[in-house]
Symmetry: C2
Subunit: 197 residues, 2 copies
DNA sequence: TCGAAGGTACAACGAGCGTTGCAGTTAGTA
DNA sequence: TACTAACTGCAACGCTCGTTGTACCTTCGA
């Protein structure tokens, strides 16, 4: 019934799959089961719709991830095991997650054609908010003497790279739970102990 | 004088900046100072040109990076310092490097619209070849007792993520040498020692 | 000097797309 | 029931683009 939400959801599907240039308003309208004219009643133009879609997607995924950070890292008893559990929850696809990360790739590619302010806003509500929350938790763990952290934001970046960058994002990137577990386990191990000596 | 090379180079510039869908044959022709008809004399169609462009770019950058791996990691005396020097060389932009990595982002985004065989071939001549070379060197360092490496390919992936993923690839990603040095230093430190205890 | 290979300029086609206007239809509300 | 706000289907516009055909030109070796 809420056409606006349907358009945002259809836009997510189409833009994530086809990108901005390829993704057409008519296809989005069909996907959302909405007249293409309705899209223009809710959004100024294609660029405005795109901005709304990436903002909406970033907002929803960030909220889910913030909740995971809070749930798994509020109280840590067994450091490595808890980090692994957290990493698995982090990486295990929430619904929409595949579409969201495909959309992130589109934004990365399209960055030169998106107004800087829109990118900044997107960064702020999405990746940066999440990274800040993670940095907070890592800093807290450092205060408890469990970690050695000089720059919490950098540590958060390194952590998320190690546990989630470990797949070749090409193709659907559908990993089995076993693959996720293994990637996260080795990632957490590298984060904690490194490869030295 | 070699029109084919000019087309490949112009295609790199345009596809890296505008992506596949936005990048137009006429613009590429203008960029390469070539008639658009000439493009069709050398390449079957737009898709074929794109495949040739990404393959060419991957090949040239991979060659440069293989050389860097060989030059900096053939003989390692001071582990951490040498890894940092290597990382800085690795990250310091070769000419074309900015365009190349923009193109990589385009490929990542466009993956669903590129035939799988083309992606596989690209992976093979580009990222995989480089990662294999790096894995070889890391394994050698492990044999010398300088590193603790169970899975060399994974270690190579982690290393490259830590030293080169450390920037927000949005915008031109023009980092100053100081920023590169700092990102690489902290990345190498994380790779060697981790954040544990 | 001739001839061939490759390059160019130009025009044309057909298709897809963003966007708008308009007239008609639905659904919910006073 | 009557009104209003939102939605739809449809047609149309102007524009861009991939692709091809064709006739002409340049260069260079035989």
């Amino acid at each position: 019934m809420d056409k606006r939400q349907a358009v945002l959801s259809g836009g997510l599907t189409v833009f994530a799959r086809d990108g901005y240039a390829r993704g057409s308003i008519d296809v989005i309208a069909a996907e959302a089961q909405v007249s293409s004219r309705t899209i223009y009643n809710h959004f100024q133009d294609k660029a405005g719709l795109f901005r709304a879609v990436i903002q909406d997607s970033a907002q929803r995924v960030a909220a889910a991830q913030l909740e995971i950070v809070d749930r798994y890292l509020r109280k840590v008893t067994e450091l490595e095991a808890d980090l692994i559990e957290f990493g698995i929850a982090w990486r295990t696809p929430i619904p929409d997650y595949a579409e969201h990360s495909a959309l992130v790739r589109q934004v990365n590619a399209e960055a030169g054609h998106i107004p800087q302010e829109a990118i900044d806003a997107w960064q702020e509500t999405g990746p940066l908010a999440v990274r800040r929350a993670l940095a907070d938790r890592l800093a807290a763990l450092a205060d408890e003497g469990l970690l050695r952290v000089e720059d919490p934001m950098r540590a958060a970046l390194h952590f998320s790279l190690l546990i989630s960058g470990a797949n070749p994002s090409y193709l659907g990137a559908r990993m089995t739970p076993e693959e996720i577990t293994e990637a996260v386990t080795t990632g957490v191990h590298a984060f904690l102990h490194g490869y030295g000596r």
